[in-house]
Structures are given as C-alpha cells and as structure tokens.
C-alpha cells in the first residue's frame, strides 16, 4: 500500500465517523460533502478513475441537492406545528 492510500484510508474512516456523529441534518450534509470528496480521492488513489468520477458526480451534486431540497420541504411542512 502506498503512503497516499494509507493517508486517504485513515481520513475516509475519520470522515465517515464525523458524518455519523454530526446530528443536525444540514451541517451533516456539508460534512457528507467533504466525506464524498475524500472518497473520490481514495478511489482515484485505488486506480479507479471511473468510480471516482461517479463518486464526484453523486457526492458533490446529486446527494447534496436532494438533501437540501428535502430539508427545505421538511422545514416548510414543519412550520405549522410551531
């Protein structure tokens, strides 16, 4: 294993833990974005550019926009209760 892979693996493990431990969904989705970047870099270090590309596409665009739109709608649905 190269040093690069080792460093990125440790960071991915830490990043995944961080994503789980942040409780507020909006801030969690931001941490999840950084985690997605780390995953993309790890896949590239594993010599898998295709998978890295998919991860970039999903992690930095598809997931964040879905999370944000869901949170916006949830906030709107929840407002009457307050």
């Amino acid at each position: 294993m190269t040093v690069l892979q080792g460093v990125l693996l440790v960071l991915v493990a830490l990043g995944g833990t961080a994503v789980v431990l942040v409780r507020d969904p909006l801030r969690q989705s931001i941490v999840a974005g950084v985690f997605g970047l780390l995953l993309g870099l790890l896949f590239f270090a594993f010599q898998a550019p295709d998978v890295a590309l998919s991860q970039i596409v999903v992690g930095s665009l598809a997931l964040p926009s879905m999370i944000v739109l869901t949170l916006a709608k949830l906030a709107r649905l929840q407002r009457p209760d307050e």
Partner: protein
C-alpha cells in the same frame, strides 16, 4: 498494514449502522445509510487492487500493462448508481413520513403506530 482497507470498510459499515440505530431524524438516517454503502465501495475496490498496476484505461498506456481489476470497478459503479437512486426514493419517503405522521423522528413514528 495491508489489511487497513478491509478494516476501514468494516469500520465504515459499523459506524454507519451506529448512526442509523441512534438516528433521530430521517434525513440524518439516510445520510448514515450512504456511509454504510460507502463501506461496500472501499471493500470492492480494495479487493480488486493490484499493487503497482495501472488504472484500467488503455488510452495512454501500452495494451500489455498490468491493470487493476475492471470487474470490481464495474460492480462499484453499479453500486454508486444504486446508492443515488435508493437515497432519492428514501428522501421521497421521508417527505411522506412528515406528511403522514407530522414528524421525521423515527422513534415518534414508531410510537404513533403503537
């Protein structure tokens, strides 16, 4: 050290599962599920990795270069796509849960069902 990738895969799975079990918000739960799923990418790619081999794209390397396994990479690609679609569906279900039960806290939803 050479088992570190597998250890990371196991750790991501467990920590993601911990997040799901203790989650108090459906959106949080879905993001934790993506962490669990990322464990499977790490595991698959780690299995297919060959030390010193090149990425499986011959555009700029000679055809007889050793490459890492393209099969697991194709599997992982499928995995990533499925993750995106599953999360999309789950976000839709989270909206429905808010609509039907007035909450996105899994505990409260369970309590309402009695």
């Amino acid at each position: 050290m050479s088992f570190l990738p597998y250890a990371v895969a196991a750790w991501l799975f467990l920590v993601g599962l911990y997040g799901i079990v203790t989650s108090r918000h459906l959106v949080h739960l879905i993001v934790c599920l993506t962490v669990v799923q990322s464990s499977s990418y790490v595991l698959l790619l780690a299995i297919g990795y060959l030390a010193g081999a090149q990425a499986p794209v011959f555009a700029d390397i000679p055809p007889d270069t050793p490459i890492v396994d393209p099969v697991v990479q194709a599997l992982t690609l499928t995995d990533v796509v499925v993750e995106a679609t599953v999360s999309a569906l789950l976000f839709g279900l989270a909206l429905q849960a808010q609509k039907r039960f007035g909450t996105v806290n899994p505990d409260e939803i369970a309590a309402m069902k009695g």
